[in-house]
Chain length 141, copies 4
């Protein structure tokens, strides 16, 4: 299957439909059935001890998978996460998170895939997640 | 198994160890192997269309389960979520979230349980989640 | 929502469409958005040490949820499991398994719910699972 | 981390400790933090319509992950699955299943990883799963 949006197009779409997350995410790579997205980490994402909070890691994973799906289906604001199973495996460093997305299935109504989440500067992933997205039916025009 | 901390004790502990979330959570009930926790929702938790964001729902579920576990093991800042599988089932209203926690297993090293997440004013749950927490070994003194 | 099939109707339907599991499952109770199903355990379900195997517990959970969904949507052989997240919490005794099903959402295309799995003779559940079922669109006639 | 058991050693160990599954599984490849395992499919694994049953796919995934962990920790019969989250994505053909295992974390007490499950003769995976295994403490001798 072919990519429908490149890095610039996805970034422009995100800035328009999710202005509230603008600035926190950088789309680094778009590829067929995959993407790499960086989440910039600030003070408000940290926990005592200088590690990134679980909800921040969830946010990174969820947003990155959305980006990966967007690349394959084109500009659709309305896909929604229906399931996420996330395993927290290692403590991240107090810095950026990098999410590597792989889509395993892109059906008519559901997209299913995995995200490996890395902490910038560490080799081993800090979390792994699988997600299911519901893709809304096309509106008749 | 018996409850080790009541509503007041858990609330005081949270305010001390997680000052950054203070104000957003209200512990409404502590019971053996369970708890009910309210998350106050503000503008920054909303998505376009006036629904509560997925990461906010994850935060509610994760914090509520932590509260439930605290009640059973006593003041331990260091338990960590190792897995969360969450199903988003319905769109929440743009208001508070209420998490009902049930702990199914409280072992020596792992706690496992479920959370049903409600949107204040709706009857049916907006999300369900299961979580596993790792309980750190007691330090020898 | 109302129950569309009672214990007798579901049992008859199962015997007809899944003859290969006939005999292994007993539908004990059907209720709105829930069911209780017993799985009879034989030698081939056991592991060394006399405990019930993980795949047998998965089978119990999956079949019981199917039964619960059948009760609400009526005789439909074609629903399929799309996701199951199962936590194995305690070693079962070498005897029957009893699955308590609760459906949290019954949508047009997806059903979502939980199963608590008990080992006959033990109080605490041996496993918990959440499942998502895909409900096929009605055929135009 | 280094592999502690090769294909022959793992196969011999399985035949000894799990004689009941002997014959159904073929360990095809052992590699550091990974493995490929084939499950031979017979009549009893099929559903009406000629597809492999969900419980059979779960069995393939669970056994393959066990094999992958064995390779890294050496002969330990007692590791147990604590969680499995599996997404069923496509209908398998009525033939063998091939499981590709990747271990993401091998800790002192927990192993976490992913399995992609293929149906022999299809390119796209039929299921994806993530698993957590509990590794028992070494017995003092």
């Amino acid at each position: 299957m072919e990519l429908k949006m490149d890095v610039e197009e996805v970034s422009g779409f995100l800035a328009k439909v999710f202005p509230q997350i603008d600035g926190a995410f950088q789309v680094e790579e778009m590829r067929p059935m995959g993407a790499r997205v960086r989440m910039l980490i600030g003070e408000h994402n940290l926990r005592p001890g200088g590690t990134v909070s679980g909800p921040s890691m969830f946010t990174a994973v969820d947003c990155a998978f959305y980006v990966g799906v967007l690349g394959m289906i084109g500009p659709e604001a309305l896909t929604v996460t229906t399931n996420c199973s996330i395993d927290f495996m290692r403590k991240p460093l107090p810095g950026d998170l990098i999410a590597e997305v792989t889509i395993h299935k892109l059906g008519r109504v559901l997209a299913v895939g995995d995200v490996l989440l890395y902490s910038d500067g560490m080799d081993a992933p800090v979390a792994r997640a699988s997600l299911t997205y519901s893709i809304p039916p096309k509106q008749a025009s």
